[in-house]
Symmetry: C2
Subunit: 211 residues, 2 copies
DNA sequence: CATACTACCGACCGACCGGTAGGGTACCGA
DNA sequence: TCGGTACCCTACCGGTCGGTCGGTAGTATG
């Protein structure tokens, strides 16, 4: 399995092995939870003994930390940095939603799911560090909502509440979405954009009242 | 603590003791996760030994099942059955959102949080039973969205996607909301209703285009 | 006073937990 | 040829896991 790699030809995969371990561990933790996955099981899945695995990792907790930062790296590279340069704030939000959704549904980026699910597993300053990176995304969304309000592209809503509604709608997907289910991911992206940005109340009729 | 109850005066708390255990266990599992909470810790918090606790519960897994069904009972009583009789579909949705949000923020109903968080902990037919009860709520929302579309009160959106956007926005709250934070729960209810039902795009201007 | 039942406990079970000590092997540049 | 280093092993640590056993104190009934 993982022995298919040979280092005969010289430098080959030395740095990749660590990533491989992170990804295997991420898959297992994603499936059975952090506390529900033992170091033995991870080691066995990596083709190692427990002690062998500990040659690569510092501790179980630090393994989770590394997985989460790895996930944040992927997210910032494939979503945040992609949409940040978009000048139009509304288009920035729409594209951000699309990329964020596909991040959860497609590309088995189990690391992202772990970040979403294990939100209260870490403690202390490692938790702070992850939360700081998460908050960067939240602030980005809040700013973009405010910007879109300023340009008159969206209504005067509470940017903070809008941000958490956005994040909830998008991040909740990992709890119910099935790749082979009734809803495809493209359908989901279009539907979510329609519901969230288009709103629910009808456009072309005077609304009687709202409490 | 829990010994404050005396059964001198006759029948007193025999059935309540079990609920007390469920609530104590729910609080702990909510704080530290199902796998992260041991039977010993729960027993100790109940003022019992582990063997004493096992007099009341069948197994750790069954304890979780009971907590979840208890939570579903509370939810159906305090949300579903309250909003189901509302005839106006849009008003039904708005009230449902309000009650659902307050369910997560106020009344420390830890059982609900557990149902939301531990969505993949159970397996087999116990999982099926809980999912069946959850699906009743999902179907109810889908039906209500369809109904509101039929009456012309909301736009022609995908009822399934709208339902999951609704559920995501509402159920994600447990991950970030702090009772003493910057956003109060009344503010959250009003803001969520505004964002979700009012939509984001402006009402009173012709929109140039949307991709 | 005997019976029966609920509630509960001390002691214990085998399995497994996260983590470590220390040794072995294969390959590296010097 | 000689370390040095990366990698991985067997064996083991103290502790905890979920769960069970036989037993007992208290109460209620007859």
């Amino acid at each position: 399995m993982s022995q298919a790699v040979r280092r005969k030809g010289g430098v080959e995969l030395p740095p990749n092995r660590y990533r491989e371990i992170l990804e295997i561990a991420a898959r297992m933790i994603c499936e059975k939870g952090y506390e529900g996955t033992s170091i033995q099981q991870i080691a066995h899945a990596c083709g190692l003994t427990k002690a062998g695995l500990y040659h690569h990792i510092r501790s179980k907790e630090h393994l989770l930390v590394e997985i989460m930062h790895y996930g944040m790296d992927i997210f910032e590279e494939r979503v945040l940095s992609q949409v940040e340069p978009i000048t139009d704030p509304l288009e920035r939000l729409r594209t951000c939603m699309a990329k964020n959704i596909l991040m959860v549904t497609r590309d088995r980026t189990k690391e992202i799911t772990i970040i979403l699910h294990e939100h209260a597993t870490l403690t202390g300053e490692e938790l702070d560090r992850i939360n700081t990176r998460k908050k960067r995304y939240v602030r980005f969304l809040e700013r973009t909502f405010s910007e879109a309000i300023a340009t008159g592209q969206i209504r005067r809503v509470d940017p903070k509440v809008a941000t958490f509604a956005f994040l909830g709608a998008v991040n909740w997907i990992y709890k119910w979405f099935q790749p082979d289910g009734h809803v495809s991911d493209e359908q989901l992206v279009r539907g979510m954009q329609d519901v969230f940005f288009g709103g629910l109340e009808p456009r072309s009729s005077a609304k009687p009242e709202a409490s």
